[in-house]
Symmetry: C2
Subunit: 392 residues, 2 copies
């Protein structure tokens, strides 16, 4: 792994999870990094999400560390705000920075009080472990129902200097008040001014995490941050923004698609591409409706080339289009032409649909240019098994 310069990582077991598996982690920038973040839009927001927003305002976005715990969402509890503040302060004291330079993030069960002394007691050990090489440890410590660690890295040359971007993420359903949520942390050693960093994160998020659905639920804790510490010596000037945006978006898309592939009970990553819609936003509505349809997701689970369910989901998406102009391709094979059944070899296509990657192309003929790409996973018995008896 080629990691950005000037960041250190550590994880430890603080006793928050019932099973002994690291549940506390730190990501530290050696110098204050320019930070931007995107949070859940759920009206029910966990204490760490609220405190993150406050800290970003108070610090002017100059952040030193992210303090993450798994096993407890610190949401809908009596002491949530105090716990988030106290643990951030404790981390700041050890790192020698201000409390508002620490961003807290939590994932796990909702409605259960989080004991802050578990975190404060583990912090000295955690700080001692900080190392530029413990990136993967942190990626592992933030996992809940995830079955694999999810990371993505990229390098790009800007102004003759090498810039690195590394991201890690967790999440297997879009939300699990009881044991999951989506968290993503992206680090880069480029120097990026505040305003373009925010804008680029927002655009990257639109094309990745906002184009991702496992079960259509949305967490109380979702947090996506990017920290740019400038340790590479390279600055993302106006001229380099297009390139940096592309690489950042790529890293975010790699992270988001890993979440879909690891969706609870999922056996397949489904990539949906819509083209020819009236606008990008209309294309996105169509893609989202297809991605959220349990009937489409179960059909793909069963390797069933059931295009009727796909055009039907598009039909209720709210986007305006003419069904008679629609072509649908599954794994590149046309199954619907001009809104009607196309001839295809059923046995052959069924075999192709047994792959781990399934591609749905939804093309609307005509002059319109709206496109969208969306990721989801198939819906299997496994999802029910994982979620039907989670808390108890």
């Amino acid at each position: 792994l080629k990691l950005p310069l000037g960041f250190q990582y550590a994880s430890a077991y603080a006793g928050i999870r019932k099973v002994e598996k690291d549940d506390l982690a730190l990501i530290v920038s050696d110098s204050p990094a320019e930070a931007a973040a995107v949070f859940t839009t759920n009206r029910v927001q966990a204490a760490p999400v609220r405190l993150c927003k406050k800290h970003l305002r108070a610090s002017g976005g100059k952040v030193r560390a992210i303090l993450i715990n798994a096993g407890n969402a610190n949401c809908a509890t009596r002491t949530g705000d105090a716990v988030a503040a106290e643990t951030s302060r404790a981390a700041a004291a050890i790192l020698g920075c201000k409390a508002e330079q620490v961003l807290p993030a939590s994932t796990g069960v909702i409605g259960v009080e989080l004991d802050p002394t578990k975190i404060t007691a583990a912090l000295p050990k955690l700080a001692k472990r900080l190392s530029p090489r413990r990136f993967l440890d942190v990626a592992g410590a933030i996992m809940t129902t995830d079955t694999v660690r999810k990371t993505s890295t990229a390098e790009v040359s800007i102004g003759g200097k090498t810039v690195r971007i590394a991201g890690m993420t967790k999440g297997a359903g879009m939300i699990h008040p009881n044991m999951a949520t989506t968290l993503a942390f992206v680090m880069t050693d480029a120097r990026v001014p505040a305003a373009p960093l925010k804008a680029m994160l927002s655009e990257g998020n639109r094309l990745s995490y906002s184009s991702l659905s496992v079960d259509g639920d949305m967490s109380t804790n979702d947090t996506l941050t990017v920290m740019a510490n400038g340790a590479s010596g390279a600055s993302v000037t106006a001229a380099a923004r297009g390139l940096f945006q592309e690489v950042l978006t790529h890293v975010l898309q790699e992270l988001a698609s890993q979440i879909a592939r690891d969706g609870e009970g999922a056996r397949k990553l489904i990539t949906i591409h819509v083209s020819g819609a009236s606008t990008d936003s209309a294309a996105s509505r169509i893609a989202r409706a297809i991605a959220n349809s349990p009937l489409v997701k179960t059909a793909i689970a069963g390797a069933d080339p059931n295009w009727g369910r796909i055009i039907c989901a598009a039909g209720y998406s709210g986007a305006v289009f003419s069904p008679s102009k629609v072509d649908i391709l599954l794994q590149g094979v046309p199954v619907c032409h001009n809104g009607l059944a196309a001839e295809f070899g059923e046995a052959e296509l069924t075999a192709k649909l047994k792959a781990k990657d399934v591609k749905i192309d939804f093309r609307i003929a005509g002059k319109r240019q709206g496109t969208a790409r969306f990721w989801t996973c198939d819906l299997t018995e496994g999802y029910i098994g994982i979620n039907g008896s989670y808390r108890t």
Copy 2:
């Protein structure tokens, strides 16, 4: 069953389904009945839905018969419009009425041509079978993945005369391009003028079928009709409208809740009641988000009193409310008070959640009066099994 006067019913096997089970049905009013209907709002609409709308306009809403087939949705096919028109004409010829007085309805596989001669050949036999007592035969013939016939009847006295309402419905997922859809046919022997009949059906639909979700999908063929033939001699005057509306809504709610209870793979009927929202429409958004959340539905399947998933779904519904004012009751037991965990006996509540009827109360404290009632079902492995290998 106390059925409305002046209606006759018949069903037969026309060879549309692969298995030999009645797949063609007629509902006939002896005299032209005032008819109103609600259809799917999907942009992809089946040929019979389009023709129904045309026939209602052409006949001024004076309808003699409904011609229904199961086993083929007559949707997204080359010949769909011609098939719907030809079979309606054939039924009209046998019944001695105009083609526009026949409303066609289809349910079944999408994208497969429907052979009209199967229907026209069976029509003479079907017409001969017409009888006021074959109501349940028709309720059976329209079933697809349904496991039980779904009917509801009511009687009410209007102006000293007895008026009867009888309805039948089918549907087990909200949509199955391959073998299902929602159809509902309501007959009454009251006389109801066109405008109030439309208005009352619309209001009844809002409180029943529009407050029902099995999997969040919406069919290309959904059709809900009401026929009022006046055979009782009683007229629903302005003064009697409130009462008639209540009874009609009750019948529709009984039908809709039977669909939720029979949802594919469902073991439980979930009734969600939201109160204290800013408006009825905000309450409905909250109820719908809870009803559509796979995480809530799997938790109920697992008898897990997981209120965090419920408040979380409400949080992303788009409705504005203060989480700290929310109380949640499961089976009447408070599990969340003022947005925080309430004390409850877990074992006792888990036992109560094993019932076939589960009630979720979502109460927002304060002066607002918006309420909604919504029906759904739990999400089990059975749903995946039914939908993962349907077409093949």
